[in-house]
Structure formats: C-alpha cells, structure tokens
C-alpha cells in the first residue's frame, strides 16, 4: 500500500509535470482491462475524446489499431498521442489507411494470454496535445512515483508559486513535514487537484 500524498496546484503548474508525463507515470489498472476500458472507466474519458484526441496508441512501442481488444498486462508501457505530422506520423494513427507501411511493428493481439486478476501496474506516457489536454485527468486519478522525483516537481511548483496545498494521508501538511518521505527509497501515490 503506497503512502498517499495529495496536492493542489494552479493550472499553470501542470507544466511542471510535463517532463514526468513524457517519461512515464505508473498507474494501477484493473486486471483484464482493455486500453479502451482503462481510458473510459479508469480515467473517465468519453468516447468522443478518445476517438478525436487520442489518435495513436502504442503498447510497448507497437502501434495499436484496436484499443478495445488490446488487454493491458502488468508492466506494459502505454503511450498516447494526438495525430502526428509526416508520413510516418500518419502511419501510426490507429486504423490508419497507411498502416501497412508499419506492419512489421504493429501490435498483434495475444488471443491465448491468461487474464490477469486484481490490480496491475502499467506505465503511461502522454505526448504532445494529449499531454497538454488530458494531463489533469490522469494526475487527478493518482500516479505512483518515487519520492525523489516528486521532490523535484514540488520544488518547481514552489518556486513558480503554483503549489497551493499538500496533504499526507488526508491530513494537511507543509512541504517540510513531508520532506522526510521524499528522501526515502519508496514509491508514493500522488493525486493532483488543479484549481481554476
């Protein structure tokens, strides 16, 4: 069970999370969920947003054409992107008419895999407009990260005056009070509430 930290930030503070979101955030997912299940039920995105904004879905570097039948497993790396320029960018769109051009790396559904039970942890990377437009939803849900990483983000939020409140295990605290937990070799569950 991870120690729970919640913070409140102003909207402009979201930019402090951009490097982390690009490198990857750890999230828990219900075992046996498809990518589509995760985005709808796990993150709360509606189908229109998924269809229009998330145009490329990658699992462990493989472009996915059918997020509804792609099951997430422990340790998977899910990357989400908006439409990208260029020929190669166009080939990576889910269901692209140019998909054949990247057929050697296209994700193939493992029909014989065992369904995982309980919670599994995946890494999620958010790129470009998906990062900008959907970061809040992912951060609100809660992400797992190292204390060291969180320290860097909090320092950036403090210096840009975007940090508006911190709580530890649902109790309001100061940065000094949680500082001890940021130096330990443990992962923390962080939830972010964006004000305004």
């Amino acid at each position: 069970m991870h120690r729970r930290i919640a913070i409140k930030i102003s909207r402009s503070g979201l930019a402090s999370f951009y490097p982390l979101l690009q490198e990857g955030i750890r999230l828990s997912v219900r075992g046996g969920s498809s990518v589509l299940d995760f985005l709808v039920s796990g993150i709360g995105l509606d189908h229109e947003v998924i269809e229009d904004k998330i145009r490329s879905v990658l699992i462990n570097g493989h472009p996915v054409d059918d997020p509804g039948s792609t099951i997430l497993k422990e340790g998977d790396r899910l990357a989400l992107s908006a439409s990208m320029p260029g020929l190669v960018g166009s080939t990576l769109i889910k269901g692209s008419p140019l998909a054949q051009l990247r057929s050697a790396i296209t994700y193939t559904v493992d029909k014989g895999g065992t369904k995982e039970e309980g919670e599994v942890y995946i890494e999620v990377r958010l790129f470009n407009l998906v990062m900008k437009d959907l970061a809040e939803g992912f951060l609100q849900r809660g992400v797992v990260l190292s204390g060291e990483r969180l320290r860097g983000i909090l320092m950036a939020l403090i210096s840009s005056q975007n940090l508006k409140g911190i709580s530890l295990q649902e109790r309001d605290v100061t940065f000094q009070e949680i500082s001890q937990y940021l130096d330990r070799d443990e992962e923390l569950l962080l939830k972010v509430q964006v004000l305004g």
Partner: protein
C-alpha cells in the same frame, strides 16, 4: 510570373542577363519547373560543379498570391552529393517576392572565370549582377546584415555561406524568413555548392511597388482559399499539433515506436529523447521569451516554426526542426537542447544541411573523432567545416565521404545522401521511399497523399504485402505535384483526412489560372515530374542497384523490436512500374 531570368555567369566580359518567356515550361512551377529545366537543359553526365550544370530557382505556381501556404521556393540542379537530379525547397519570403517580381524562375548558367563572389539585385527596375569581394566567406547572418545595410529591410535574400563558397557537398542555400534572418534552407543534396560554383553569393529581391499576383477569377480564388484555410485550421495536425510544438513534436512518438535512429543507426530508441522533445523545446522557448508558434512566410496559417532563445533570453536560432534535433541530438547521443540549438545556428550560418551534418558527425563519432554524447566536440567539428580546415573539408562533404575517408562501413546513405530521422527497419514503408526516390534518401519525397490515394494508379489493397510498394509510389507522385504548387508540404496532413480541403487546393489553382484541373490531372502532373527525374537519373548512369538501402539495414536487427528491413529488391523495382 511569365518569364525566366537567365544569368550566364561565364559569359565573355562578365555575367550576362537575359529574359525568356516560359514557352514549353508554361504551366509549371516549383519542383515541376526546376526538374523540367534540369532534365531538359543539363547534360546528365556533366560534372555538377561545371559550367554545364544549371542552378534553377523557382517559386511555386501560387507563390506571390493571396493564397495561404504558398511561400515555398524550389532550387534544382544536378546534385554534387548524389550525382543525380536534385530539388530542394524552403519556406521564408523569397518565393513570394520573386513571384511578384514576375519571374517563374532564375537560371544561373555557365561558370565564372575566377572566384569573385557576385551579388544579384532584382527589383522593379531590373537586374544588377555586381562583383563584391567584401562578401567573400561571410557567414549567412553577417551577409544578410550587410545586405540590409545596403538595400534596406524590405528585401528577401537567397544566399550561400562559406560552405557553399567552398563547394562542399553538404552545402545548403539559405532563404530569409519574415524577420530577415537566413533560417530557412534548401538543405539537401549540396545545392549550395552548385550556387557557389556559379559564383553567386547572394540574390537580393525587392518587390517594392510590385503588385500581388491576381487570379483570373478573384472571387472564386478567394472562396477556395477560405475553404482551404478552414480545412487547415480545423485539422488536429495543422491546426493544433504543429502550431503548438513544431515538427519536433515527432521525437517522442518516433522514439516510442523504436524508429528513432540513435548512435548512427545502431538502435531505435534514445534514452534522452524526452529532454529534446518538441514538448520540452516549446516550454523552454516560452520560459525564455522565445516563441513556439511562428510562421516562416507571410500567408502561413500553420505556423510550425518558432524562435529559440538562449538561457539569457537572447535570440539564438530559429526553433530547431525535428530532423535537426534528431541529427545533432539522438543520432549523436546528445540530449542537450541548447547545444543542439547552437549547432542549428552554426549550420544556418555556414550554410549546411543539418541532416547531412548530423549524420556526418555521427559517422565521425563512430570513427573515433569524438565520443557519442559529446556536444562540445560536435560543435567543434561543425566549426572545422566552417573554417574549411582539412578535416572540415572532409566532414563538409557529407556522411558517405567521411565514412570512406575514415574506413567506416556504416554510412547510412542512399544515392550518397544521408538518411533522415526515421529508421526504415521499424517503418518499412519509409524505407521503400528512401530507396527509390530519385532524390536519394528523402523523408519528404513520399509525404503526401492524394484524394482516394488507394485508387491512384489502380486498385490497391493496402493490407497486401505489395501495398507498401503501391503506397510509396502514390505518395511520391502526390508529393511531386504538391511541390510544384509552392505550397508547404505540411498541407498534406489535412489533405489526407479531408477530401474537401484537397479539392479546395485544386480549386485555387483552377481559379487562379483559369484551368479545369481535376484531382487526376493533378496527380498526372506529379507522375510527369517523377518520370522526368527518373529519366535524368538513368541518363546520369543510375540503375536499379542505386534504389537500395545500405546492406546493414537488411542484416542488422534494430533494437528494441529487433527487426530488419524486409522489403525485397524485386519489390523495390516495382515502385515505378506504372
């Protein structure tokens, strides 16, 4: 745009200027015109730096009008890098200005008797070709400052830096942007060396008091342009991703799919990718007072370029593009955005193709001249090129030349030109285009799609293995056609998804010229251009053996997916079977 300006730089008694009507070149612009002139008038077996080669500069069919996205200028010649036909294009202001001066093309011919640099000045009153030794070996930024001092700020310039004067095969031709900086380059194929071989250092264009080109049917043109702009603005790529992040938006995703060539094409992912991504670059620019949303020419509504400041908030360079960030970044193991920006500035200033230079430095790193990841060493290597030292002369002639000089097997080139920022082992389709394009390894050659792309050239099932060949062919045809219009190739992303936007572009051409062009006619134009280019290359001695990737792409699996390029040679030979 009814005339061609010809300047014979080797004429007896000094450069000779003449104007000719378009004649048989009527109806052509941009790449269509440069390739037509080169394929007709240049002996395919000539030396690229000889007086027999010609250097053609052509704005697009719609340049100089009120149309959006019409600011691309093409330059064409026989390439000293590939030995085949070359067209390279750039944005910036020169296309608009040259077109308003009434020229469909400038052709530099012959070869001067000595190495005196010339400046060419064109305004409403005519053309002056003036020797000016004070311009010798000036880097592009200093050169443009001097031209501003002489001719004022309402000019547009086409120039070469020291690399072009030294006739290096990686030399580019610089075009000034809206801020009158030499940041937009016709980069590929050593076109700067050919301009240098003609003795022309700079062409200064001034369209003061010249009218905007008017359409035959102005109302219809205006309406078509409005629909075209709406289409671009509503599309996620052209209306949002590119304005927000520029082309470097590609770094994260290409890296994610394992197609990001790293350490001289040894692996497909770079650990430092997110540090040099478009997302990171845009935030940095905003924090430092730069601008991640900026158009390179008047009339651009996509605004994919930007302004990059250093850590003190001073201008350093234009926003480095994806290809530049990759070439000087991941391919060399460098994840320092400021160092990459510095290298972009040096390339622009010396007049060098950033792709070729990045690929060359990576080869040099393989040769032990520097360690992968050593940004300071990479900067010093570019400075060697700018100074024209013996080492610089090797590096300035590109990746293949450098590999040969240092006994390196791994030279990622096709037809002598370095591969751009997508590994063909991960995305085979781009490899088909790299191998077969008449231009050499070129990521923009098969960039565009035609309306009903799957039907162009016959019925194609994209799920069949041969689908890749057909797709590459159709993409190359469509790209060649768009390159003739003077429109930025990035319109292609909207054209792929929105047939009505494609139709609006065709309607603009028809309204302007009074044509009845259909989509099929437009595609046929692209087909003709490619035929001309292939024909020239065949006469220059190219065979199917030149339409191949380097062998290591077929034998060396690329991590992380551990795949090789698997398209067969026999399939590559089918691309131009139409």
């Amino acid at each position: 745009m009814s005339k061609i300006l010809r300047i014979n730089m080797g004429a007896e008694g000094g450069p000779q200027v003449s104007e000719t009507p378009l004649g048989e070149y009527e109806g052509l612009g941009g790449r269509g015109l440069t390739s037509a002139i080169v394929s007709k008038e240049v002996p395919a077996d000539c030396h690229p730096l000889s007086g027999e080669n010609k250097f053609v500069i052509a704005p697009g069919l719609l340049s100089g009008t009120y149309g959006a996205m019409t600011g691309r200028i093409s330059v064409g010649c026989k390439s000293p890098l590939t030995g085949g036909i070359k067209e390279a294009n750039a944005g910036g202001q020169p296309a608009q200005v040259l077109a308003r001066l009434g020229y469909a093309a400038i052709v530099l011919e012959g070869k001067p008797k000595d190495d005196t640099p010339y400046k060419v000045y064109i305004n409403k009153d005519g053309v002056k070709v003036v020797p000016d030794n004070t311009l010798k070996m000036l880097p592009n930024y200093d050169l443009i400052e001097k031209m501003k001092g002489e001719y004022g700020e309402k000019i547009a310039c086409i120039s070469i830096g020291p690399a072009g004067e030294m006739k290096m095969a990686a030399a580019s031709v610089a075009c000034t942007d809206m801020e009158l900086r030499p940041t937009r380059h016709c980069g590929r194929g050593g076109v700067g060396a050919v301009m240098g071989s003609k003795g022309v250092k700079v062409i200064v264009l001034d369209d003061t008091d010249m009218p905007v080109r008017q359409a035959k049917d102005p109302e219809r043109f205006k309406e078509a342009n409005k629909k075209f702009v709406q289409g671009l603005q509503q599309h996620a790529v052209t209306g949002q991703a590119l304005p927000a992040y520029g082309t470097n938006v590609l770094t994260n995703i290409i890296n994610e799919v394992g197609g990001y060539p790293t350490y001289n094409f040894k692996q497909g992912q770079f650990e430092g990718a997110s540090k040099i991504s478009g997302e990171t670059e845009a935030e940095l620019e905003k924090q430092r007072g730069g601008n991640p949303t900026h158009g390179c020419h008047r009339g651009c509504v996509i605004k994919c370029s930007g302004i990059y400041h250093d850590k003190d908030g001073n201008y350093l360079t234009k926003q480095p593009e994806y290809e530049t960030v990759w070439a000087h970044g991941g391919n060399c193991g460098i994840d320092d955005m400021d160092a990459i920006a510095k290298m972009d500035f040096l390339d622009d200033n010396y007049g060098l193709d950033t792709i070729e230079m990045g690929a060359t430095i990576a080869v040099a790193m393989d040769a032990g001249l520097a360690r992968f990841g050593d940004a300071e060493a990479a900067i010093r290597l570019i400075e060697e090129v700018g100074k024209g030292t013996h080492l610089g002369r090797i590096l300035g002639n590109g990746a293949a030349f450098t590999a040969r000089a240092f006994g390196i097997e791994r030279a990622p080139v096709v037809k002598g030109q370095a591969l751009p920022a997508y590994d063909p082992r991960a995305v085979h389709g781009i490899g088909v285009t790299y191998a077969t394009s008449p231009m050499g390894a070129d990521h923009t050659a098969g960039y565009a799609v035609a309306q009903n792309v799957l039907k162009v050239g016959g019925d194609v099932d994209p799920l069949k293995p041969e689908g890749q060949i057909e797709l590459s062919r159709n993409l190359q045809i469509a790209t060649a056609a768009i390159d003739s219009t003077g429109m930025c190739l990035f319109i292609a992303f909207a054209l792929l998804d929105q047939p009505e936007t494609f139709q609006a572009m065709i309607d603009m051409l028809n309204a302007f010229y009074g044509w009845n062009m259909t989509v099929d006619d437009f595609i046929e134009m692209g087909r003709k251009i490619l035929k001309m280019e292939r024909d020239f290359n065949a006469r220059a001695g190219f065979t199917s053996k030149d339409d191949r990737l380097p062998r290591f792409f077929k034998t060396e699996p690329l991590p992380p997916h551990n795949i090789t390029f698997q398209v067969k040679d026999e399939e590559l030979d089918q691309v131009f079977n139409w």
